[in-house]
């Protein structure tokens, strides 16, 4: 192969690209059906975006570890400032807002934060001398790093993203070697605090989502409608599905958000359990690759970043699928590669790009070429 193909192209992570391409194409097929057999408004744009972001990821893969190290904190600060901007514009314009309109593009800073927090926290534990990992100074900077973004995102209010951001940071802290008892203790504290937070910390609409999730049939036409209809879509698909373009739940508008958060239900209705297993297997390959990259990585920063980014993508997938199957409350988190939506796809492809970069530069300090 190397005889015919120029080295820079031959060196691309073809297997990964192929996997991503297959998954995004499947998303394209599902969105094409969701629109009633039409490229517009979703499928075409979905594919175009994917290809653009794939190009971006390939560009990212050429950058080496030092680049990510250098930009880790500045990016974090910029994204925090953007979150602040969102809050300020929202306060002036009235009502909550998640978007920042830069004129040529509308971006959702909370999405970017999912990546920025990984880089920043990983960079912090990278800088921290190993001897201090079990000390207080391994903890308070983490809390500070988390406080700004989480505070700003929960104000939006966006519980789902807040949890994802915090979980990403905590995963890295866990991997960095913080004492196990902190996590065990934290889990216990969470179990105690959750009910308290539920009753005093959550907005009423958030509380309703949780109670509805616990018993969707209680409120079949209200908040439970999403979960119920999603389960009907998945359940009625059976093993082999109703067939391409034959979904009724999605085509007749019973399934809400069938092209974004509930795209998996749209897919499952037409492709059945088989389609679901293929999608899950695709994600399994992706995470295996991500964790493999982490294992191969030689430096602490790249190790932490690789697992952190893989876990971030995993959170998307896990929370989305649990929600769609009625195992978690409805929190607006899309499914990578299948859901229609620019911001989340950008975040995921940034994660993928950085992972590719680490894959390509596993951290040999002596490495001369970039």
């Amino acid at each position: 192969m190397s005889d015919f193909v120029p080295a820079p192209i031959a060196q691309l992570p073809w297997k990964t690209i192929l996997l991503l391409l297959i998954m995004a194409s499947f998303g394209f097929v599902v969105l094409y059906s969701a629109a009633g057999g039409s490229l517009t408004p979703w499928a075409g744009l979905h594919m175009v975006r994917f290809l653009i972001f794939l190009a971006m990821a390939i560009v990212f893969s050429r950058l080496n570890e030092n680049f990510w190290k250098t930009i880790a904190f500045p990016v974090y600060i910029v994204v925090v400032l953007m979150l602040l901007g969102v809050e300020l514009i929202g306060a002036v314009g009235g009502g909550s807002q998640r978007w920042l309109n830069l004129g040529f593009i509308r971006i959702q800073p909370s999405e970017l934060m999912k990546v920025a927090i990984i880089l920043a926290v990983a960079r912090f534990y990278d800088l921290l001398p190993p001897s201090q990992i079990r000390s207080w100074s391994a903890i308070w900077p983490l809390l500070v790093l988390l406080a700004f973004p989480c505070g700003l995102i929960i104000l939006q209010p966006d519980l789902g993203t807040t949890i994802t951001v915090a979980a990403g940071a905590l995963t890295i802290a866990f991997l960095a070697g913080l004492p196990m008892r902190l996590f065990v203790g934290g889990a216990v504290a969470l179990a105690v605090l959750t009910p308290i937070a539920f009753f005093f910390g959550l907005e009423e609409y958030q509380q309703r989502r949780v109670t509805t999730f616990l018993n969707p049939e209680n409120d079949p036409l209200g908040a439970g409608y999403h979960i119920t209809q999603s389960k009907i879509a998945i359940g009625s698909g059976g093993i082999f599905g109703k067939g391409f373009l034959n979904g009724t739940q999605s085509h007749l508008d019973y399934l809400p958000e069938g092209h974004t958060d509930f795209v998996f239900a749209t897919m499952a209705e037409e492709w059945g359990l088989l389609g679901g297993v293929i999608v899950l297997f695709g994600f399994f390959l992706l995470f295996r690759w991500g964790l493999g990259v982490a294992m191969k990585a030689k430096t602490r920063f790249s190790q932490l970043v690789a697992v952190g980014l893989t876990t971030t993508i995993f959170f998307y997938v896990a929370i989305n699928l649990m929600m769609v199957m009625g195992l978690a409350p409805v929190v607006g988190i899309p499914l990578p590669f299948l859901s229609h939506g620019g911001s989340s796809m950008m975040t995921i492809m940034i994660c993928v790009g950085i992972l590719m970069s680490i894959d390509r530069h596993p951290g040999r300090q002596s490495s001369a070429f970039g």
């Binding site: 001897s131 079990r134 960095a176 998945i234 007749l252 602490r300 009625g326």
Partner: protein, 656 residues
């Protein structure tokens, strides 16, 4: 926190590997959990969710069945179904009712009164019950609503059938009407067809009584709908099974004729076949138009019916009770003959007689002189009957009255009958805790006092006297008439009775104007006048207010030689029998010569100001104007002084 042990990069790297493996393991675990969950939903619960998905997708629309027709003895429809376009609102699917009604009012050009009715019904009915907006629409209006359907949630335009009564008000009381099932009906029988727009059930009369037979089986249409209720396509349709037709003994033309002939009067005409008991006509006027009720009656129209002193909402043929007055005299004559009184025996009439310490007048104060039975009937001499009743006692007379159908409740498919009273000594002890007195006999023998009958009973009495058969009135047409037994009256007595009644009309009697304008066909009859109130001055003639005037009654049969038809006519407050027998004459004429009868009717209707529909429309306009005026006065828009003048002008016409 203090570091328990020195941690090197190597140790850290080991920790990382270990913990990353844990995370990888957790991820695989969650992945398997998700796969298991999905398999559970899509395989184990597949059937359940498939059903739910189907019930989402497919909307079963019931098609209201066409009701069975009501037809008359000649197959002419009395109630049929008209294909129409209609629009209903289903309240619980309509978020903004006021705006929806306003939009529909504009699209369908509904008047303020209709809008008021719709809004009222929307408030009253249960949220799942459809409220009719309009029916009998033309295609343009129906289409105008249909194309705007996406903006009108809860509005249901349909093509269907609505009940139609060609004779309108003429059959109102008898046939009843249909309407939307009530909340109670639905509670009793929660069949979804009951709340399907366009589905009507019988609410009164025959429509109600024969509901099961007329109803039919609903059809169904399966359509694919979106979550917003938009119909994507029709899947399949099962057509309805129409209800079975019901053939009645009525003659629709005769019924309509009788109704029209009653004109502006409040009264009843019942015509029977005196050999079979078949009811050819049972008319009560004024009446309501069942077409109006079936479509949801307007406030004004209902108000007019309710406020009318001629009580159009009461079926006078069955529920009106009247003292039969002198119409009982042929029956009493039969009773007397059976009791052995010689018809030729004469009694002197000096214009009345004293019974106890009270004087009972004959209607003719100057007296009839020597009166035999024939004269007593054709001249309606009260004194003769007073004396005879005192002689034989009232029991044999009461027995004959009952044998001839007085006081009877007949086996008829009607919601209710008022069956009146035939008083006798046992009855008075039970009811009034006193002994029977002579004045009771005297009162009762001329059909006054406690004696009460409904017009149907009078017709039955006439029919039984005419045929001598124990006929039972009947509304359902049978191909084979049941065998009817003879009554216990001697045939020569019956013949004499027929002769007396013939003399009333064709001889020196009280109703000579009732003679049929036909060659070779004569009618026998008997007049009756029933006092409504005891008046100090004179009798209840035309010179007293309408509601104090006497009721006019007439019973008849024809032809005299070979009786075929029997009839009763009752005119409420007609100021005597002279209001009743011309009606009987014309209705009887209609049975033998339609054209002659129609000519007579047309000239009469000209003098009354049009036929039933035209007069009702005029009355309605006047009523509406009056209501408007009252409202205006109440709101202070018009001075009361000038209002009174106008009020008189718009007063509905009553009486002749």
């Amino acid at each position: 926190m203090t570091g328990g042990k020195v941690i090197s990069s190597a140790v850290q790297s080991l920790t990382f590997t270990r913990r990353a493996t844990v995370i990888g393991g957790l991820q695989v675990g969650i992945g398997l959990l998700l796969a298991g969950r999905m398999a559970y939903i899509s395989v184990a619960e597949n059937e359940r969710y498939q059903l739910l998905s189907e019930s989402n997708r497919v909307n079963l629309t019931l098609i209201p069945p066409r009701r069975g027709w009501l037809i008359d003895r000649n197959g002419k429809p009395i109630a049929n179904n008209r294909s129409d376009f209609r629009v209903d609102i289903i309240p619980d699917r309509t978020p903004n009712k006021e705006q929806t009604v306003a939009t529909l009012a504009k699209l369908l050009s509904l008047d303020a009164e209709e809008v008021e009715r719709i809004n009222k019904e929307l408030k009253q009915t249960n949220s799942f019950q459809p409220v009719q907006v309009a029916s009998g629409l033309d295609w343009e209006k129906y289409a105008a609503v249909s194309v705007r359907l996406p903006d009108l949630p809860g509005v249901s335009p349909r093509q269907g059938f609505s009940r139609f009564y060609p004779s309108g008000a003429a059959v109102g009381h008898l046939v009843g009407y249909v309407g939307i099932a009530s909340a109670e009906d639905y509670k009793e029988n929660p069949d979804p067809i009951l709340i399907t727009p366009g589905y009507k059930i019988g609410k009164d009369g025959l429509e109600k009584h024969f509901e099961d037979r007329l109803q039919g089986e609903p059809g169904a249409k399966r359509v694919e709908v979106t979550a917003r209720g938009k119909i994507i396509r029709e899947l399949d349709t099962q057509s309805d099974i129409p209800g079975k037709p019901l053939k009645l003994t009525l003659d629709a033309d005769l019924q309509e004729y009788a109704a029209r002939r009653l004109g502006p009067e409040s009264g009843s005409v019942v015509v029977m076949d005196c050999h079979t008991g078949e009811i050819l006509t049972m008319t009560s006027m004024p009446s309501f138009d069942p077409n109006s009720f079936s479509d949801g009656i307007g406030v004004t129209e209902y108000g007019m019916l309710r406020d009318d002193d001629h009580v159009p909402l009461r079926d006078k043929s069955l529920r009106g009770l009247y003292p039969p007055g002198s119409t009982v005299k042929p029956m009493v004559a039969l009773a007397l003959m059976r009791a052995g009184i010689d018809p030729e025996e004469t009694v002197g009439c000096g214009g009345g007689m004293r019974v106890g310490n009270r004087r009972f007048n004959c209607w003719n104060r100057r007296g009839h002189g020597a009166v035999n039975m024939a004269k007593a009937v054709y001249q309606s001499c009260d004194t003769y009957f007073y004396k005879m009743a005192l002689r034989i006692g009232f029991d044999p007379i009461a027995a004959a009255a009952r044998e001839l159908g007085m006081g009877a409740k007949f086996d008829l498919p009607v919601p209710s009958q008022s069956y009146g009273t035939v008083p006798d000594p046992q009855w008075i002890v039970k009811k009034h805790k006193r002994e029977w007195a002579d004045f009771d006999s005297v009162n009762s023998v001329i059909g006054q006092g406690y004696v009460l009958a409904n017009p149907l009973q009078l017709a039955v009495m006439s029919a039984r006297m005419a045929s001598g058969k124990n006929v039972q009135p009947r509304l359902l047409y049978l191909d084979q008439n049941p065998k009817i037994e003879l009554l216990n009256f001697a045939s020569d007595h019956l013949e004499k009775c027929h002769q007396f009644m013939s003399d009333v009309v064709n001889g020196p009697g009280t109703a000579r104007r009732a003679r049929l304008p036909l060659d070779g066909i004569q009618m026998g009859g008997k007049t009756g006048t029933a006092q409504v109130v005891s008046l100090n001055v004179g009798r209840g003639g035309m010179d007293v207010p309408w509601k104090f005037r006497d009721h006019g009654l007439f019973i008849a049969f024809a032809p005299v030689e070979k009786p075929r038809y029997a009839m009763s006519v009752v005119i409420e407050h007609g100021a005597g029998s002279s209001s009743a027998y011309p009606v009987a004459r014309d209705v009887m004429t209609f049975l033998f010569d339609r054209q002659k009868a129609m000519e007579q009717l047309e000239s009469l209707e000209k003098s009354w100001g049009g036929n039933i529909a035209e007069r009702t429309a005029k009355k309605m306009t006047a009523y509406r104007a009056q209501k408007e005026l009252e409202k205006a006065i109440a709101e202070g828009r018009i001075q009361t002084g000038s209002g009174d003048d106008t009020n008189e002008n718009v007063e509905p016409q009553v009486g002749q």
